[in-house]
Point group: C2
Amino acid sequence: MSEKDPAVDMHGAVCPVPLQQKSTIVIGHGSGGKMMHDLISEVFIPAFGNPILAAGNDAGLAPAGSNSHYAISTDAHVVKPLFFPGGDIGKLAVCGTVNDVAMLGAIPKYLAAGFILEEGLDISILSQVVQSMRESAEEAGIQIVAGDTKVVEKGKADGLYITTAGFGEIIPYPHPIGGQHAQPGDRVILSGTLGDHGIAVLGARGDLGFESDVKSDIAPLNHLIHAILQVSDKVHVLRDPTRGGLATSLNEIAKQSQVGIILDEKTIPVKPAVQSACEMLGFDPLYIANEGKLIVICAAEDEEKVLATMRKTDDGQQAIAIGEIITDPPGRVLMKTLIGSHRVVDILAGELLPRIC
Amino acid sequence: MSEKDPAVDMHGAVCPVPLQQKSTIVIGHGSGGKMMHDLISEVFIPAFGNPILAAGNDAGLAPAGSNSHYAISTDAHVVKPLFFPGGDIGKLAVCGTVNDVAMLGAIPKYLAAGFILEEGLDISILSQVVQSMRESAEEAGIQIVAGDTKVVEKGKADGLYITTAGFGEIIPYPHPIGGQHAQPGDRVILSGTLGDHGIAVLGARGDLGFESDVKSDIAPLNHLIHAILQVSDKVHVLRDPTRGGLATSLNEIAKQSQVGIILDEKTIPVKPAVQSACEMLGFDPLYIANEGKLIVICAAEDEEKVLATMRKTDDGQQAIAIGEIITDPPGRVLMKTLIGSHRVVDILAGELLPRIC
């Protein structure tokens, strides 16, 4: 077989048929990882392509009026089950979108919510979800100003799906905040433990095979972010590591900014119960979704004051510096392991945990 | 049975069990009619209640910055089948939200789109839908600045559901435009024929039992509206009669403004093919959804120039005055029939045509 054979992939392994693009949607396309990125870059960006969307941040930065900008974001929520320790689909639908908007340094102001309801859904369940949305919206300080309701036949929609869109006002800051602004020398700070949300949902689904008391970390992060931006004018990137986990979010940032990121494994916080669940199931906490965690990338000189500010808040008590931005290799994330070697931390390839948000 | 028996409904008919609220979601809750209004007023408004949402317009009017307002709207789209004569779910997802935003007299600027994809969906179908969204967005002059993709298992989601949210900038106008601003003496103008969209979707579904060449009227109406607002400063209400049809939209306006509306049946335009389909199926075109029609309520003195402006546009060629705003009975819609009598035109009660948008 010649070296030019298209059936030989880049690692030299031989594939019996030429590698091809998937022609139908598979669960992995919703993973937040490589398959989803491929779908976005091959189907959505070529069609919708504009500089705002192509920036690839959690929210689009849109000019409004003569002199201001708004952050606009949307998230569809299909979590299964609807209720899990620490939250439910309603809390997720509000916090997920609030957080995406806040990641551009915006104050989330308005939310729109579209409900797809399954025939036969108990209205008492809908009421609980809606009440939870209300409480989360109050906590985040956002108003729900538009809504829509559709009903589909029994057997569709698993009770309900909720899609929210958020609209936030960019606050004055010396420079734009976004995934493309990480700079060599910057420090990477994480607000707390990894993997709580994914493991909590798996537990509620009965997929762990054992009892777990792990609660989801879902929380609106806008107040935490606001506190950070008040004390530091050198924050370059904010990102919440949701689908695809910390590993995928950092890979996205490394590519957007064309920098390398080096992590120190011993600093990365994971709860013992999450660690145990991951070991039993063969998961890596770096790839598990979080819904109330924040990555802050800021100039090294502001690291201490950002950490101190975060640690004073409920959602940032366990904030810790986990790595730094380097020049080489651009677009890659490396990890200094516990035994002192280095390994590449890649983007999530397929699907780890479907339907966790 | 005493007159006070709760089992006697208001028309005097006897119901074998006391009338009760539904405790589960039924298809009628997605109708756009009375059941949906009840669900909104009993579940959503009490939880989310704020003056913007409670205004009950197609879009929420939200203050932005110091001196401007934005129109924010959202729509979930679950149409079945995905493609039908004159359009598809993608065109619907863009135009539906563009139109809701435009109904407050706003220029639609930005769109966010959340996709719920069914495992097994052909990516070529997704690409067609996305291409159609692109074309509609270009036609409407709106940018798609945020998106999200989730995947659910085979058997859920009928291929795909799309929820869009739209953001529009309110343009300077002497007064606010909205369902609560109709005034006695105002004229009611309709931009064209009723029922085309609903009958086109039914035809594509094979539910008509015969061949039909009716095409959906889906279109972005923002350019038509912009033209109207340029020639008249006396427009009080704009509304697109979608789910629930003209009858339901006018009932909503009558209630919001606490006025009566009297229609003249002989003026109401319906295509012969739509009329035939309705007669065979026992439907009333007044209740069938439209996706490219506009109701304009303006001062009588501006009727002629609004009509003349509308008739110069593609989407308003058949514009016609169909009625007027009266003082009594407040909150009701009346129709002067072909034989000269008057009848009450009520809001849609249950569900007429599920899954048409």
